[in-house]
């Protein structure tokens, strides 16, 4: 187990205050969360869970998903390709088995990530989750195909995002965070549509498209061909899209994409993020959450700054 945060910061009672942030309706003790699908209760063995301001679970869908065939993973020169296919036990099992465990173990806010194949299905999932206690907010994964719209991903159309978010925001008082795909022409316009429809925060970015081929045999490294690309190689793109979106919306941004170190995290906060999430870094370094929060805390303390003081303060 990592050293307890309170011991590290025992010299200054203000450290906690300096790391506090807001994500929409949620007050977070630290700006650090985890990217959906990269972190679960197993990871809490590796460091003090109080490093995390919130816990985001793996995306759930209404029905169980078998997931994609193997191979699902390939580590590239700079980052990771994945093609998991949203494998999950479905909403019923999530509510019956996973959620009670989260309620029992987690001391930080739980944000449930979910996805659907139609607006009605999104709404139905939200309605079921609204009836459950122990959930502080939702991360709506809209990078999935829409059966009502020729299978094109929800997240690429401003109109569809608006309709979807309007429907969902009318149903909940909890945090409603819309997770955007970077694989669009204008992410800021999509974010504005989500904001106008009542989203209380924006999460970005989901994975980029990525691919790898065995040059000797010509065989794709991933069974489905095109995969999601995450990790250190996507950091500049994620940073640019965070900056662009922060210029366009007033609601807070939960930024992610290639954050491995506390310096990376600071860059995203300068760019306009209110909170950050670590994803692939959880695989590469099981202690990354701990190390990032320590580094951020020390940086802020040494300069007597709060996160709020530097958020969006990038000099161009």
């Amino acid at each position: 187990m990592g050293t307890h945060l309170s011991e590290i910061f025992s010299q200054s009672l203000t450290a906690r205050e300096q790391l506090k942030t807001k994500l929409g309706v949620l007050e977070l003790n630290t700006p650090l969360t985890v990217a959906s699908g990269t972190f679960d209760l197993e990871n809490l063995e590796f460091f003090d869970p109080s490093c995390l301001g919130a816990f985001v679970c793996k995306t759930i869908t209404k029905e169980p998903q078998k997931g994609n065939p193997q191979p699902r993973l390939y580590e590239t020169e700079a980052g990771l390709l994945n093609s998991i296919g949203l494998q999950n036990p479905g909403l019923d099992l999530f509510i019956a088995e996973k959620l009670p465990k989260y309620r029992e173990v987690l001391e930080m806010p739980l944000i449930v990530s979910f996805s659907g194949s139609s607006i009605d299905e999104f709404a139905e999932i939200l309605m079921r989750l609204e009836a459950c206690s122990g959930i502080s907010g939702y991360e709506v994964n809209i990078s999935c195909p829409n059966v009502e719209n020729e299978g094109i991903a929800f997240g690429i159309s401003e109109e569809i995002v608006y309709k979807l978010v309007q429907r969902l925001s009318s149903m909940t008082e909890r945090e409603l965070c819309i997770k955007l795909s970077p694989n669009v022409t204008d992410i800021a316009a999509i974010a504005q549509a989500a904001e106008a429809a009542g989203a209380s925060s924006i999460a970005l970015i989901n994975t980029l498209y990525g691919m790898a081929i065995d040059y000797q045999t010509g065989v794709s490294r991933i069974k489905k061909g095109i995969a999601g690309y995450s990790g250190i190689g996507i950091k500049p793109t994620a940073l640019a899209l965070t900056y662009k979106t922060a210029q366009a919306v007033k609601i807070p941004i939960l930024a992610m994409g290639g954050i491995y170190s506390w310096q990376d995290a600071l860059e995203f906060i300068w760019a306009g993020a209110s909170a950050i999430a670590i994803g692939t870094a959880n695989f590469v370094n099981p202690l990354s959450a701990f190390e990032i929060i320590m580094g951020l805390g020390e940086y802020l303390l040494a300069r007597n700054l709060k996160l709020q003081d530097i958020k969006g303060g990038v000099t161009i």
Partner: protein
């Protein structure tokens, strides 16, 4: 089962085997008391990960390596240098630090009073060494091992090489059916390349012999979180993708849908 733990440990000793194979030994008494044959660790050379920007290099994933031996806490990892990750491990010497996540996965079931046959291919050898140590006092054990050439073979009861450079010429499964009959085998344990495991399963299924196979997979997290390492397990009509790192790496061989891998 307890969740895997993260620790950093110094390499106590490094042992050279044949060209591409070597053993790294660490010492951890608590892990020595906890681990079982067939389990594995995610391991990596200690990297300056806390500061990727300053270190100026891109940290890579851990590699899953099965436990070769456990002498009351002196834990050995027998490794074959096959790719980037294992190549980095191959450069390590005694005194260098390892990062470890584990023990991960479920091991082989260990019974008493059985006639057990162990069958391994290539780098499928290491977990069998630990397994036979646990079996040998209470079971009759016969161990067959196969490799491409002499450099891929290690001590056991019967050796096969594809080039005939040592032992019998051919593949290790060539001798399986005969040995099951000859030694009155009632349980088979296997570890090796997928085609070898599938071929061994076809034989044990035909003879209705209990068979546990240990599988290898590309992994990201190694602790059951990312669902990257799954294989299809169940009946032909009703199977699910199970995690090699969590539900495995040891599976009942007849439940693995080899035809779908």
């Amino acid at each position: 089962m307890n969740n895997p733990q993260y620790r950093q440990r110094a390499i106590q000793a490094r042992e050279e085997l044949t060209d591409d194979y070597f053993i790294l030994w660490i010492w951890d008494e608590a892990w020595g008391a906890a681990v079982r044959p067939g389990q594995f660790f995610e391991i990596r050379a200690l990297a300056s990960l806390e500061d990727a920007q300053v270190a100026g290099h891109i940290p890579k994933l851990f590699k899953p390596i099965s436990i070769y031996d456990n002498q009351g806490g002196r834990i050995g990892f027998m490794i074959k240098n096959v790719g980037k990750g294992t190549n980095a491990l191959s450069k390590l010497r005694a005194g260098d630090m390892l990062e470890l996540l584990g023990p991960a996965g479920n091991g082989f079931p260990v019974y008493r009073g059985k006639h057990a046959l162990l069958i391994s291919g290539g780098i499928g050898y290491p977990p069998m060494w630990y397994l036979q140590k646990e079996l040998i006092n209470h079971n009759q054990v016969y161990w067959m091992h196969g490799g491409a050439t002499q450099g891929d073979t290690f001590p056991c009861d019967e050796i096969f090489t594809e080039d005939g450079s040592i032992g019998k010429k051919g593949r290790v499964c060539d001798g399986l059916k005969e040995n099951i009959a000859k030694y009155d085998i009632d349980i088979v344990y296997s570890c090796g390349p997928l085609p070898m495991l599938a071929a061994a399963t076809a034989i044990t299924q035909e003879l209705a012999i209990e068979h546990y196979a240990s599988l290898e997979a590309y992994m990201a997290c190694g602790i059951g979180v990312c669902y990257g390492c799954v294989i299809p397990v169940g009946s032909a009509l009703n199977w699910d993708y199970l995690r090699v790192c969590k539900e495995g790496p040891v599976f009942k061989a007849e439940e693995v849908r080899w035809e779908l891998i």
